[in-house]
C-alpha cells in the first residue's frame, strides 16, 4: 500500500488549523489590485488529524539515532540528551532585534559559550554566527583571506592546499572563496605526505586545510612539523573540526598550531542532526585573526553584554543575526552538563569504541586498509568479492544504519565507521556479528545481497533515473498528464 503524499490527502475546502479570525478587508484597496495573486497556492487542504497521521506515518518510515545504531563516519551520530530540548525552549521567544538589555540572559549565554569553545579548542576568540560546518569553513577561509589581504599578500597567495583524504567541503569552500585548490597525497600510513606538502608550500599558498584526526580516523602525528612548515611559508593552518569528538579534552587544535578552527556543534556538542540540519558552525581564531571575525560578536562591558558591530577589519556578516541560538543553547547545556572531565571521558570512550569495533570487524573478515590505533572512527573494506553498497543495503534489513560509504575517496569500497561514545559494547558486538553474517551470506548468495534490502518501507530505489529525469515536485493529476 503506497504511502500517500500530503497533497493526495487534500480535498478542496477542507480545513486544518484555523489560526485566526480574519477581518473583512478590501485587499485590492489596501494592497493594489495589480499586486494580488490570481489563484491561491495549491497547498494541501487537510484536517488536523490527517496532518497528524501523515507526519506520524512518515516518521515511522524513518530511522534515526533514537531508533537505531547509526555509525555514520565523520558525522558523530551520538546520543543527544533530551534535556537539550527543554533548554532550547527557554530561549525560543526572543526576537533578534529586541532591545539587547531585554535579552541579557541570551547574550550572557553566548558570551560564555564563546569562551568555552575557545578554551576547548585552544583559540583566542570565537564567532558563533556560522550556521553549519561548511559555513564555518567559508567564514574561516574568508578570515584567512582578509588576513593576507591586510598584509598585502592576497594577490600573491592564491592557493589552498588540501589533503586527498579531506572532506569534500574543504576544497569546495576554498574554491567558493576564489582559491585554487591543490591536493596533497596521503602517504602509505594514511597521513599527509609531509614531503609532498613541503614541496607545494611557498609564498603562493594562503592556507592548508586539515582534519585531525583525518577522515581515515588517524591522528596526523607530524602535525607540529606541518604547522611549522606552513607558518614558515607564511601560510595559515585551518582546522576542520568535524572530527573534534575524538580529541576534545585530550588535545587542542590551537596547541597544535592551527590558526583557525571551525566546530560542528551538531556533531561534537550534541545538537540533534534534524535529518540534515540545521547545524551550527562556530569559528575560533588565534589572536592575530581576531580583527577579521564577522560582526557582531558578543562582548562584555562592565556587567552588561553587548553586540559588538564595531569591527572595522571584519569580513562582514556571513548570515543574518547572531547564529543558530537553538543550537548554541544545546551546546552550552552539554558543556555545562559534562564539564572538562566529562568531555574528555566522552572522547576516550568514542576512541575506545572505534578501536574495539575495528578489531571485531577484522574477526568478521573485513579488511582494514590502515590498521593501527585509530581515533573516533576507522575505515574498513568488505571481504574481497563484496560491494560496499550491497553491505549497506543488507544492514538496513537488520534495522541498522550503515557506515558512511565510498568515502574517503582514497580507499576503494570504503566503509567509514564512527560508533561514538554513547553506544554500548553489546551494540558493537551485535553490529559486528551482523556484518559478519551479511558478508558470509553475501559471498555464498550474491543474488540475495544484490537484492537487499527486503524489509524496508521501500526496496532498492532507482537513483539513476531520478538523476536522469528528476521529478522534483508533486503535480496535480491534470498537469502531470499535460507535462508528461
Amino acid at each position: 500500500k503506497a504511502f500517500p503524499l500530503i497533497f493526495e490527502r487534500s480535498k478542496p475546502g477542507r480545513r486544518g488549523v484555523r489560526p485566526v479570525r480574519a477581518p473583512e478587508v478590501d485587499l485590492a484597496a489596501l494592497l493594489g489590485e495589480e499586486n494580488l495573486r490570481e489563484t491561491p497556492p495549491r497547498l494541501p487542504e487537510v484536517d488536523e488529524l490527517s496532518l497528524v497521521r501523515h507526519y506520524t506515518g512518515l516518521s515511522r518510515r524513518q530511522i534515526g539515532v533514537d531508533t537505531s545504531f547509526y555509525p555514520l563516519g565523520s558525522c558523530t551520530m551520538k546520543y543527544n540528551p533530551k534535556v537539550n530540548e527543554a533548554a532550547a525552549a527557554l530561549f525560543s521567544d526572543l526576537h533578534p532585534y529586541q532591545d539587547p538589555d531585554s535579552a541579557q540572559g541570551a547574550l550572557e549565554l553566548m558570551y560564555e559559550l564563546q569562551r568555552y569553545l575557545a578554551e576547548i579548542t585552544g583559540m583566542d576568540a570565537v564567532t558563533l554566527q556560522p550556521a553549519a560546518g561548511a559555513h564555518g569553513e567559508l567564514t574561516g577561509i574568508l578570515i584567512i583571506r582578509a588576513y593576507h589581504a591586510a598584509r598585502g599578500e592576497h594577490d600573491q597567495r592564491r592557493v589552498v592546499l588540501v589533503p586527498d583524504s579531506a572532506h569534500g567541503s574543504n576544497p569546495a569552500t576554498a574554491s567558493m572563496a576564489g582559491y585554487e585548490v591543490r591536493e596533497i597525497p596521503s602517504g602509505p600510513d594514511g597521513e599527509v605526505d609531509l614531503e609532498a606538502l613541503k614541496r607545494e608550500l611557498g609564498s603562493h599558498v594562503a592556507a592548508i586545510m586539515l582534519t585531525n584526526p583525518n577522515t581515515l580516523g588517524l591522528f596526523e602525528r607530524q602535525i607540529l612539523e606541518i604547522a611549522r612548515a606552513a607558518h614558515a611559508a607564511g601560510a595559515l593552518l585551518y582546522y576542520d573540526g568535524a572530527n573534534l569528538n575524538a580529541i576534545m579534552g585530550w588535545a587542542r587544535p590551537g596547541d597544535m598550531g592551527f590558526d583557525v578552527v571551525h566546530l560542528n556543534l551538531h556533531k561534537t556538542f550534541s545538537v540533534p542532526h534534524g535529518g540534515g540540519g540545521p547545524g551550527s558552525g562556530p569559528v575560533g581564531v588565534k589572536q592575530h585573526l581576531e580583527p577579521f571575525l564577522p560582526v557582531p560578536t558578543v562582548r562584555k562591558e562592565g556587567d552588561r553584554f553587548v553586540l559588538d558591530y564595531d569591527r572595522p577589519q571584519s569580513i562582514g556578516q556571513v548570515r543574518s543575526f547572531y547564529g543558530n541560538m537553538g543550537a548554541l543553547v544545546r551546546a552550552y547545556t552539554y558543556i555545562r552538563l559534562l564539564g572538562a572531565e566529562g568531555l574528555k571521558r566522552s572522547a576516550a570512550l568514542a576512541v575506545l569504541n572505534a578501536n574495539y569495533l575495528k578489531e571485531r570487524l577484522k574477526d568478521e573478515g573485513y579488511r582494514i586498509p590502515y590498521d593501527r590505533t585509530c581515533m573516533h572512527e576507522f575505515v574498513a573494506q568488505p571481504p574481497e568479492g563484496l560491494r560496499t553498497l550491497d553491505i549497506a543495503k543488507a544492514l538496513l534489513d537488520e534495522g541498522y544504519h550503515p557506515p558512511t560509504v565510498y568515502f574517503p575517496l582514497i580507499v576503494k569500497e570504503a566503509l567509514m565507521v564512527e560508533p561514538t561514545e554513547t553506544e554500548s559494547k553489546e551494540t558493537l558486538e551485535a553490529y559486528a556479528e551482523v556484518l559478519g553474517r551479511i558478508a558470509r551470506r553475501g559471498l555464498e548468495d550474491p543474488e540475495w545481497i544484490q537484492g537487499a534490502p527486503y524489509r524496508t518501507p521501500v526496496r532498492r530505489l532507482d537513483e539513476v533515473s531520478a538523476n536522469r529525469k528528476p521529478k522534483l515536485r508533486w503535480e496535480p493529476v491534470e498537469e502531470a498528464v499535460r507535462s508528461s
Binding site: F3, F7, R15, G16, A22, P23, N35, P40, P41, L43, P44, E48, Y55, L58, R61, Q62, D66, A87, D93, H95, P96, Q98, G105, E108, L109, A131, A132, G133, H135, L138, G168, S169, P171, A177, G178, R221, G249, A251, P272, H273, G275, G277, P278, Q317, R319, S320, A327, L337, E341, L343, R345, S346, N355, Y356, T373, P402, V458, D462, L472, R473
Partner: protein
C-alpha cells in the same frame, strides 16, 4: 552528567582486547607535549542543576511573544501541532538521508516541502532549504552569476541591509561586484541595467515595508541578459503575486514566519526556488521521486553531482547541512493551515498593520516614511533616536521600533504587525509610544 554506557568492567575488557591497560594509551599517536591540557571550564552539573541555571539565565530576558518587531523575523503563532509532529524523534535524530530505503520519512517530507515552495513562488523547482534568508539570497545571486558567467550585481537599496551585507561578503569572496539601485521614496527606482550585470536583486515587500512593482525591473534585467532575483516574504505569498508572475527567475526568502520560533534569530531556514532551466545550478540538496525495484513509489536525493562531496573543488556551493528540521516545521505549518489558513494569517496582518500605522501616525512628531501600498511592516520617523524608543518601550514590556540604519534617514524605526495582535495590543502600543515620546 555523562551519557556513556560503559561499565568499568567493560572498559577493562575492551582495552584488554586492544592490548592496553588504560584509556590514555588510546591517544599514543598524539605528541606528548599536546596531551591533556588543563581546561578552564565550569564543573559538571546534574540535569536539574543545569535547568535551574538556564531558567535563571532565561529570566534575564523579556520574551517577545507579542512583539511588533520585524525585519525578517516576526512573532507569529506556531500551532501546537507543528512542533508536535516535526519533533518526532525519528525526524530529529536522523541525518541527511543518504540511505533512502530507511529514510523515506525525511525524503518524502522534503519532496512535499519542495512542492509547497514551488507553489508559493510560482517557480518550478525548490531545493530542500538553505541556512536562512540572507544566505539564500547570496546563493541565489551566485547561481545567477554562474549561469550568466558575469561578475556584476545590481542590488536594490530597499533589500534588507543584513541581506545586502551577507551578499557582499559572499561576492567579495569571488571578486564579484555589487552596485546599488537607489530608492525613490520608499521604493526602488527603475533603472536600465547594463549588459555586464548577471543578477538584479529586489525585495517585496521591501525592507521599508512597501510593496514593490517589479515587472519593469525584471524586464530590464532580462533585456540586459541578467537574471532577476526576488526576495520575498512567504506569508505575503498567500495573497501577493508570486515572483514567477512578475518575471523572477529566482525567488528567495526567510522561512521563520512559517511555523518556526523566533529563537533570537535562528535556527530558521532559507528557501530558494528557480526556473526549471536553472536546476542544475541550484545549490543544496534536492529530492526526486523515483521507483523501487518492485515499482513502488519512493524518494531519493538527486542530482548530487552538483554537490561538493563528489565535485569537490568544482562544486556549485560548499553546502552540506541544510535546515531540514526547521524547513520541516515550515512544511507542516503550510499543510496545517492550507491556502485558506495562510490567507487568513496574511489578511489579519495586513489589517493590523494598517490600523497600527493609522494609530501611530496620529502621535505628534511621528510620520510614516513607508509609502503605500505596504503589507505588514512600515517605517516611521520618530522625533528621537529609535534605539532609545525601543529601550523605553521594552521597559514597559512592549517590543517595538527596530532601529533602521542611517542610510535610509534619521530616527527611523520599523514596525511590524502580525496575526497574533488584537485591538488591545495595538492600543497598548499606541499608548506606550505616546507616553515614551511625550
Amino acid at each position: 552528567m555523562e551519557y556513556t554506557p560503559h561499565t568499568e568492567d567493560e572498559i577493562r575488557a575492551m582495552l584488554e582486547r586492544l592490548g592496553m591497560r588504560e584509556l590514555r594509551e588510546l591517544f599514543r599517536d598524539i605528541p606528548a607535549e599536546l596531551l591533556e591540557p588543563e581546561l578552564d571550564l565550569p564543573e559538571p552539573m546534574t540535569e536539574a542543576e543545569v535547568l535551574e541555571h538556564l531558567r535563571a539565565l532565561a529570566a534575564k530576558n523579556r520574551p517577545a511573544t507579542r512583539a511588533f518587531l520585524g525585519g525578517g523575523v516576526r512573532a507569529h503563532h506556531v500551532p501546537a501541532v507543528v512542533p508536535h509532529l516535526a519533533t518526532r524523534a525519528e525526524f530529529v535524530t536522523a541525518y541527511t538521508p543518504y540511505q533512502p530505503e530507511a529514510s523515506q520519512g525525511v525524503l518524502q517530507a522534503i519532496f512535499e516541502y519542495q512542492t509547497m515552495i514551488a507553489e508559493l513562488t510560482g517557480l518550478e523547482v525548490s531545493n530542500a532549504s538553505l541556512y536562512d534568508g540572507a544566505t539564500a539570497l547570496a546563493e541565489g545571486v551566485l547561481l545567477a552569476l554562474r549561469q550568466t558567467r558575469r561578475m556584476r550585481v545590481a542590488l536594490s537599496q530597499a533589500v534588507h541591509p543584513e541581506y545586502r551585507r551577507v551578499l557582499k561578503t559572499y561576492l567579495d569572496a569571488i571578486g564579484a561586484e555589487v552596485y546599488e539601485l537607489p530608492l525613490e521614496g520608499s521604493r526602488t527606482a527603475l533603472a536600465e541595467i547594463p549588459a555586464e550585470v548577471g543578477a538584479v536583486v529586489a525585495q517585496t515587500p521591501n525592507f521599508l515595508g512597501s510593496i514593490e512593482r517589479l515587472e519593469p525591473l525584471a524586464e530590464a534585467a532580462h533585456r540586459a541578459g541578467a537574471l532577476f532575483v526576488a526576495v520575498v516574504d512567504p506569508i505575503s505569498l498567500a495573497i501577493l503575486k508570486p515572483p514567477a508572475a512578475y518575471g523572477a527567475d529566482i525567488a528567495v526568502g526567510e522561512g521563520q514566519p512559517l511555523g518556526n520560533a523566533m529563537a533570537f534569530g535562528g535556527p530558521h531556514f532559507g528557501f530558494i526556488a528557480v526556473r526549471k532551466a536553472l536546476v542544475r545550478q541550484l545549490p543544496g540538496r534536492l529530492v526526486s521521486e523515483t521507483r523501487d525495484v518492485d515499482g513502488q513509489r519512493g524518494f531519493v536525493l538527486a542530482l548530487s553531482a552538483r554537490e561538493q562531496h563528489i565535485r569537490r573543488a568544482k562544486a556549485k556551493s560548499n553546502i552540506t547541512t541544510n535546515s531540514q528540521l526547521t524547513a520541516l516545521m515550515g512544511a507542516v505549518y503550510l499543510a496545517a493551515l492550507g491556502p485558506q489558513g495562510l490567507r487568513e494569517v496574511a489578511v489579519r496582518a495586513v489589517a493590523n498593520a494598517h490600523t497600527l500605522a493609522e494609530r501611530l501616525e496620529t502621535i505628534p512628531g511621528v510620520e510614516r516614511v513607508t509609502e503605500p501600498p505596504f503589507f505588514n511592516e512600515f517605517v516611521l520617523r520618530l522625533p528621537v533616536e529609535a534605539r532609545r524608543v525601543r529601550a523605553r518601550l521594552a521597559e514597559r514590556g512592549i517590543h517595538a521600533a527596530v532601529p533602521v540604519p542611517e542610510e535610509y534617514g534619521e530616527n527611523l524605526a520599523l514596525f511590524a504587525a502580525t496575526e497574533v495582535h488584537d485591538a488591545a495590543d495595538l492600543e497598548q502600543l499606541e499608548a506606550a509610544l505616546r507616553e515614551v515620546l511625550a
